[in-house]
Amino acid sequence: MITYLMCFILFLTGLYGVITRRNLLKIAISLSIMEVSAFLFFTLIGYVEGGKAPIVSPAEPNQVYVDPLPQAMVLTAIVIGLATTSLLLAIIIRIYGKYGTFDIREIKNLKG
């Protein structure tokens, strides 16, 4: 239970960062933290009490294994997260080139 709680705290940390930070880079970092909490959650739901890594060997037929599917999904999701983060950072670099600041309050070209 405590691990789920910590996972939730990680999510709240990320959300707090996204909402309160004014620096573009810090927003990007907070988004990553939020994503990581989702990944952690996925790995947790695949965990089986006393389970081993799911490499099936005929020597131990009664061995309990953890659910491998969430792990596969997390790997996919991490790759996607990498693509999103790198694109976000590329956009931030371009924004810095145009506006000369990372402060989100200065970047308000679009209104209405």
């Binding site: 994503e35 739901i45 969430p70 999103t84 694109l87 956009i91 145009k98 506006y99 070209n109 209405g112």
Partner: protein, 512 residues
């Protein structure tokens, strides 16, 4: 196994890689090649629409057959509903690709543009064909990441800002969706949409279930820009290059947002009345507020973007009205009528909103401005743009005999017959305000006497752009035919049947 299903995803994916490899070696290859491939996709998707009829065909990726009727591989599912979406994606995609031939000339890096365009199409086709929850997420991310990059393609100040906003909100949406999928997997230990329904039918914890539904609704609602989640849409859709705006507004929010919401809530979740009411009120909210925000805009593409929110409200509203009736178990024929109206409006909106964005792009291409106050008198200088824009404006405002009239009529009739009189009145009022919005657009852009001093050099746009606009204009008129019973039976009825009877969907997928 239907070989068309993987082809529809693989061909655009391969196209994206080919663009990157060959585009540098052979100049001019990307632009024509893109149109050819998109034309191929149009043929393939219409072939599947005609072929599929009321049936469902399943493609099991990697050939993993189910064990004890429990699906283990990733399922790609083609049915009437996804076939309609495929046709919308490929048709608007093809016309946008043709339009891009002359429009994208003034940007650098055409190869990247077309590669991203293909990635977006591949992702949307994948989402639409997916019968597996996590697969939906993966393809959704492919298309969404491509759209982030395309919104920022102009790399000006406002493009970058819009893309940043879009990415932050999009990442939050992806997080919500991923979290929702995780919660569903936790309880059901499966990811196949039909299998999840099967497990949920055998009883569930209600609080947990509603929480999951809300997560999924807000995640995909963010992608679909339903009202409380709409903040990114006007920025993103107005900053993108115009053919991409047409894709984003005409296809993208439908394929990755509305399509998935309707599919999941009809075919995966057992509909409960509270959630159905929530969806209907969100739809009504976006319908009303969207149009009132649109009417005050002076930036032509922003105006169109806000009006997209409002028109998507119609679709959500009619789907929600159908859901309420289904959850109460009364008047199934009225529920079917409401869903038919929603789907019909979805198709129509793709045609006329795509056309309006292409018109806006043509004006921007010649005048270099998007401000309505700086336009005027264009009806003589750009006759084709003006005529097609008039058709689209009348369609979107629901003037007979154009297509928008019929779909709005079906939605309003369904609301009246279901005794949701308030919704029917709201739909009529919004339609009138939409008319006012688009009369304003027509008057300021095309008929007012403009500032003549510099605009005498303005002339009609190039051939490919004209081709796309005229084709969409003809579509706007022809799509009205879908309202007549024989066409409706052929195209809309299979889709509505699949949505109405989730059991058929399950039996055909798991029972094979």
């Amino acid at each position: 196994m239907n070989p068309v299903i993987p082809i529809l995803v693989i061909v655009p994916l391969a196209g994206a890689f080919l663009m990157m490899l060959l585009g540098r070696l052979i100049r001019d290859l990307p632009k024509y090649f893109t149109s050819v491939i998109m034309l191929f996709l149009v043929i393939a998707s219409f072939y599947s629409l005609i072929n599929i009829g009321p049936g469902i065909s399943v493609y099991k990726t990697g050939g993993w057959e189910p064990i004890n009727k429990i699906p283990i591989g990733i399922y790609m599912v083609l049915d009437g509903y996804s076939a309609i979406m495929l046709c919308i994606i490929s048709t608007i995609g093809f016309l946008s690709a043709v339009y891009s031939i002359s429009f994208i000339k003034r940007y650098t890096g055409e190869n990247y543009y077309y590669a991203l365009f293909f990635l977006m199409v591949a992702g949307m086709n994948g989402v639409v064909l997916s019968g597996d929850l996590f697969n939906i997420y993966v393809f959704l991310e492919i298309s969404v990441i491509a759209s982030y990059a395309l919104v920022a393609f102009g790399v000006g100040k406002s493009e970058l800002e819009a893309s940043f906003k879009y990415q932050v909100l999009g990442s939050i949406a992806s997080f919500l969706i991923l979290f929702g999928i995780g919660l569903i997997y936790w309880k059901t230990k499966t990811l196949n949409i039909a299998d999840i329904r099967e497990v949920f039918k055998n009883g569930y914890d209600n609080t947990y279930y509603v929480f999951v539904q809300l997560l999924i609704l807000s995640g995909f609602g963010l992608k679909a820009a339903i009202m409380p989640f709409h903040a990114w849409l006007p920025d993103a859709h107005s900053s993108a290059p115009s053919p991409i705006s047409a894709m984003l507004s005409g296809v993208f929010i439908k394929a990755v947002g509305i399509y998935v919401i309707i599919r999941l809530f009809f075919n995966m979740f057992v509909i409960s009345e509270e959630v159905a009411l929530l969806i209907t009120s969100l739809g009504a909210l976006s319908m009303v507020l969207g149009v009132f925000l649109a009417v005050g805009q002076w930036d032509i593409k922003r105006l169109l973007a806000y009006s997209s929110i409002s028109q998507m409200g119609y679709v959500i509203l009619s789907a929600g009205a159908g859901m309420i009736l289904i959850s109460r178990g009364e008047k199934p024929e009225v529920a079917a009528l409401a869903i038919t109206g929603g789907l019909f409006h979805l198709i129509n909106h793709a045609a006329f909103k795509g056309l309006l964005f292409l018109n806006a792009g043509a004006i921007e291409y010649r005048l270099g401005t998007r401000n309505l106050k700086e336009m005027g008198g264009l009806s003589e200088k750009m006759p084709i743009t003006s005529a097609t824009s008039f058709i689209a404006s009348m369609s979107i405002s629901g003037i007979p005999p154009f297509n928008g009239f019929f779909s709005k009529l079906i939605i309003i009739v369904a609301c009246v017959r279901a005794r949701f009189y308030l919704l029917a009145i709201l739909a009529v009022i919004v339609s009138i305000v939409t008319l006012a919005t688009f009369l304003k657009l027509q008057r300021y852009a095309f008929y007012n006497k403009g500032s003549d001093n510099e605009s005498h050099s303005v002339k009609e746009v190039d051939g490919p752009m004209v081709f796309s606009m005229i084709t969409l204009g003809i579509l706007c008129i022809l799509l009205g035919l879908l309202a007549f019973p024989s066409f409706r039976e052929l195209v809309l009825k299979p889709a509505v049947d699949i949505l109405m009877n989730a059991d058929i969907y399950i039996v055909k997928i798991i029972g094979m």
